[in-house]
């Protein structure tokens, strides 16, 4: 079953990228922010002697989980239920939204506070709640900025990375209740304004909604790691807590958590450890929420799991290290990817979760430079999956004629035979001879114009290498 929700691009990547490339401010903001996090990450990763061993351990644990996912999910359901949680299953985004909306409506609450969560972004929960007349407030500072601006997140860790602080001040001034024109763009002043705004929400909301970074099968425990502490307020203050969790978030036992609590913060925020790690297991009398629900979401994950090469994308722990080192992401930002999962991981995850439409252009949104694979804490070989998905796309269209296919097929026919190949080299060399006096070529007809729009083309010299070799 295909995934739905905010992982379906509406426009092909090259079209969306073209629009973003015109935004100089965006590129400046992105470059500054990604390079700052990138450098921090390099420093703290460099401190760990056994980083490579940790990465391999992380990958191995995740692969083990994926290999026996049904069994572990059943164990998780049993443990969580025994601890007092109510477990629900959702096949896609629509089902997940329907379940959560029904649960919130059942409490008679008209407002909810939210912990930053990719899963709820993925299923489009805020939009669904709004349609049901329920106000959802994001409490993560960056998510709040994006929400107030009526925008969509553009980065997994730093959803508002595309804004600088003066833009954020303008958003607060015009959209945040109680903020005056005197607000400066000083970060402590901005944080204080957000704190005042959120405090009222924390104290009045009776329902909290979260995701989870990890779900422990053995105990039924959910884990959220964060930096601000706002998440913990949502996890502990409301009477009802609803957690939306992708089925790949499972870890077998508590002991595996140790590996990821080292890998995640260093890769993600460039910190040795994140400031807040919250864990909860069902309900505890006299402490925390009275009712806890867990919605386990598939939304295309089972289909992704079926692909032997592509399934490694499900190891992802959403650290966003690949975004911060990606030269493509740095130029176009997250919106160009048309999904809540931007950057290199989005380019392999979104098309697999949805398997059709404009997402099929995402595997080409990479120069295959490999920086993402090097940065990935769970060793997802993103370039390998990109090429694999390109191949699946090409194979799926094998029956349909296309100019590109014709070119690759004839080039392959020439290049597989030394005589045809040598003749083609000679022909190319001779064919360009009349142009040689003009030095470099500045303009070629379509489709090669895509190259010459911004680059010159050198001309072949008088002799190919094999002609020289034959004569020496």
């Amino acid at each position: 079953m295909n995934g739905t929700g905010n992982i379906v691009a509406l426009r092909p990547f090259p079209d969306a990228a073209r629009l973003e490339l015109n935004d100089q401010q965006l590129r400046t903001n992105l470059r500054r922010a990604t390079h700052t996090i990138r450098d921090k990450r390099l420093r703290v990763v460099g401190e760990v002697d056994d980083w490579e061993a940790l990465r391999r351990a992380g990958a191995a644990i995740k692969d083990d989980v994926l290999a026996r996912l049904p069994e572990l999910l059943e164990r998780f359901e049993e443990s969580a239920t025994r601890a007092g949680a109510v477990v629900h299953w959702a096949r896609d985004a629509a089902e997940a939204c329907e379940i959560v909306t029904r649960l919130v409506t059942g409490t008679a609450a008209r407002e909810v506070v939210k912990v930053k969560s990719m899963a709820t972004q993925e299923i489009g929960l805020n939009e669904a709640l709004e349609a049901a007349g329920i106000e959802a407030t994001e409490t993560d500072l960056a998510e709040l900025i994006v929400q107030l601006a009526d925008d969509t997140p553009s980065h997994i860790l730093v959803p508002a990375i595309h804004y600088n602080r003066s833009q954020i001040r303008d958003i607060f001034r015009s959209r945040m209740p109680g903020v005056t024109d005197g607000l400066t763009d000083d970060p402590p002043a901005l944080a204080e304004a957000a704190r005042r705004h959120l405090r009222a929400k924390f104290l009045s909301a009776t329902v909290g909604i979260s995701g989870a970074n990890f779900a422990i099968a053995e105990t039924g425990t959910l884990v959220v790691v964060e930096s601000e502490g706002n998440g913990r307020m949502c996890l502990t203050l409301p009477e009802t807590l609803i957690s939306v969790v992708g089925i790949e978030k499972i870890l077998p036992t508590f002991s595996e958590l140790e590996v990821f609590l080292q890998l995640l913060p260093r890769s993600s925020t460039g910190e040795r450890m994140n400031p807040y790690t919250s864990m909860w297991t069902g309900v505890t009398p006299g402490d925390g929420p009275r009712t806890t629900h867990i919605v386990l979401v598939d939304n295309g994950r089972t289909a992704t799991l079926a692909d032997e090469i592509g399934r490694q994308a499900l190891r992802c722990i959403r650290c966003s290290a690949c975004l911060n080192v990606c030269p493509v992401y740095e130029r176009v930002g997250g919106h160009a990817y048309g999904s809540v999962y931007p950057g290199p991981i989005g380019a392999i995850l979104s098309p697999q979760l949805t398997s059709s439409g404009a997402n099929s252009t995402l595997p080409y949104a990479s120069s295959l430079c490999g920086a993402c694979f090097d940065a990935c804490p769970v060793r997802i070989n993103i370039p390998e999956v990109l090429v694999h998905l390109r191949q699946k796309g090409v194979d799926a269209k094998r029956g349909k004629p296309s100019a590109e296919r014709a070119a690759f097929v004839s080039l392959s026919w020439i290049m597989r035979d030394r005589r045809r190949y040598a003749a083609a080299l000679r022909a190319a060399r001779r064919g360009s001879a009349p142009l040689r006096g003009r030095g470099r070529l500045r303009r070629l007809p379509w489709p090669a114009s895509a190259w010459t729009d911004s680059r010159d083309v050198p001309l072949p010299p008088k002799q190919t290498f094999r002609e020289w070799w034959a004569k020496r």
Binding site: V328, A371, F373, M415, A448, W451, R455, P458
Partner: protein, 244 residues
Amino acid sequence: MRIALFITCVNDLMYPDTGRAVVSVLERLGHTVDFPEAQTCCGQMHANSGYRAEAMPMVRGFVDTFRGYDAVVAPSGSCVAMVRDSYPRLALGDPDLESGVAEVAPRTYEFAELLVDVLGVTDVGAVFPHTVTYHPTCHGLRMLRLGDKPLTLLRAVGGLELRPLASAEECCGFGGTFALKNAGVSAAMLADKCGAVDATGAEYVVAADNSCLTHIGGGLSRRAASTAKPIHYAEILASTGSAS
């Protein structure tokens, strides 16, 4: 040692000087180089663009041509990465090809690897009295882990002044068909790379891949203020001092 030269399709047609430079350096060091004429292309462009079926005849051709040599050398990080990193995966399920790849792939070296790791040479006796800046290409850097092998060789070149390149390890934006399919993003990456090259004020921008150099050179030649010329480091190693 039987050393075979894999010239790569881009070098054969567009940059024969790079191939001649490899031959010249190896012969100067006392080695005999064989050029098996049955060779064509490694198939990287086809495989990376998703045309696996069309790439396979080239993969088989490469393995058949170079089986039996002690070492295969190519002046291209990305073509060597294709052979060493991608061939084993592409050969899976074809036992004959798998064994051929297992034989050939580990013995296929980028030029600097052959010189430094196999032949144990870091000073090839070259002289090149110019300022140069070195761009480590992505496949050489992150798939082959060439590290500073090309730089070690360049540092031993007489008269050469090496200038550091800002954000050297960032991709130039070539990426094969990426430069066409996402031309705008590719051009934005190229603009930053060209700016970094210009800032060094070097006479030459050097790399271990002529395809990346075609991209960078093509961008530099559009910029009025740019003066750096692209050159493959093998040609510097072949130089003995006469201005090129």
